[in-house]
Amino acid sequence: MYLYALALVRISGKQGLGQLTAMDFVVILIIGDLFDDVFWAKVPIAQGVVAFAVIVLLHLLTTFASSRSISFYRLVTSPERLVIEDGKLVLKNLAREWMHPETLQSDLRIRGEEHLREIKEAWIETKGKLSVIKARASKPVQKKDKHLFG
């Protein structure tokens, strides 16, 4: 059963655990739970194998379809939302996410961001994570900025 799981996980793709969508996460939990019943011989192995294969297959189909069709992707995932624009909170979108400004502040601190004014855009991405694009003046100095040193 372990080897079977290894094989299925292998063919289902190579994304690491940091790249999970909510559905990936739930699928992993389902798979884990399908297992123990086989271990304790509560269900025959054949039934476990079928259940397992069907879940993995459907998940592969869903992810394949979302990679090919944007409209299908939009159907099965929540859209990303802009929560900071040019240093200002976009309260409307925060409310849509049922997110308190304090929660956003907490996420910003985790990213090391202290001042809203230094942020050009921040998004709650589809995977639920916060992305931050810094304002031009607050971007780190790059090699191309050598002229600024005078």
């Binding site: 999970l20 909510a22 559905m23 996460f25 739930v26 699928v27 939990l29 389902i30 884990g32 739970d33 399908l34 123990d36 019943d37 509560k42 269900v43 025959p44 054949a46 039934q47 079928v50 259940a51 069907v54 879940i55 459907l58 998940h59 869903t62 159907l75 099965v76 995932t77 929540s78 409310a95 996410e97 049922w98 997110m99 308190h100 304090e102 929660t103 907490s106 996420d107 601190r109 985790i110 990213r111 090391g112 202290e114 230094e118 709650i124 991405e125 589809t126 995977k127 639920g128 031009r136 003046a137 607050s138 971007k139 780190p140 100095v141 900025d145 600024l148 040193f149």
Partner: protein, 179 residues
């Protein structure tokens, strides 16, 4: 184990997958997954319920009701925490400041059952080896430690070079204050 039973297993598994796809979609992207410990527990409950459905240990309707009820309560909970400050305080821990202006806040640390070694470990993970560089470190509700650096310890930004103030003032103080 005859073939029809296997077919039913496949059918139930397909149904469960599609049903969960809808439930997860409706729950939204921040409601499930690794955002908070409780979201994780809800995801585990949902996952735990479905294997019984797939193997036919409980009838589908019963499983569907269990999933819908758990998902619904989770939605009500996040909605209520957003709408009411009281419920928010009741269900979620507020952030705790553990370093303020380079000073370790020992009282807050012990309140969170967090020791100095763990704090230093968290700071090192952020590339900080000197607590003096920390303006504020906070144990956030999500369980992560956030670190805000003192102005002089921040990396140089474009505006630091274009502003007219004497150069070097905001630059990283590389050697002073080394422990």
């Amino acid at each position: 184990m005859d073939v029809t039973e296997l077919m039913y297993t496949a059918l139930r598994a397909s149904f469960v997958y599609l049903f969960l796809l809808i439930v997860v979609r409706l729950l939204g992207k921040r409601e499930i997954g690794a955002t908070s410990a409780f979201d994780l527990v809800v995801a585990l409950i949902l996952g735990e319920v479905v294997d019984e459905i797939i193997y036919g240990d409980v009838i589908i309707l019963q499983g569907v009701i269990a999933i819908v009820v758990v998902a619904l309560w989770h939605l009500v909970n996040s909605w209520a925490s957003f709408k009411s400050e009281f419920i928010d305080k009741l269900t979620g821990a507020p952030p705790t400041v553990v370093v303020k202006n380079g000073q370790i806040q020992r009282k807050n640390l012990s309140k969170e059952r967090f020791n100095e070694q763990e704090l230093f470990s968290e700071l090192r993970l952020m590339g900080v080896d000197n607590v003096k560089e920390v303006k504020q470190a906070t144990l956030e509700p999500s369980g992560t430690v956030s670190v805000l650096l003192e102005d002089w310890a921040k990396p140089v930004q474009r505006q630091d070079l274009t502003e007219t103030k004497p150069r070097g003032q905001k630059k990283k103080a590389s050697t002073n204050g080394k422990s």
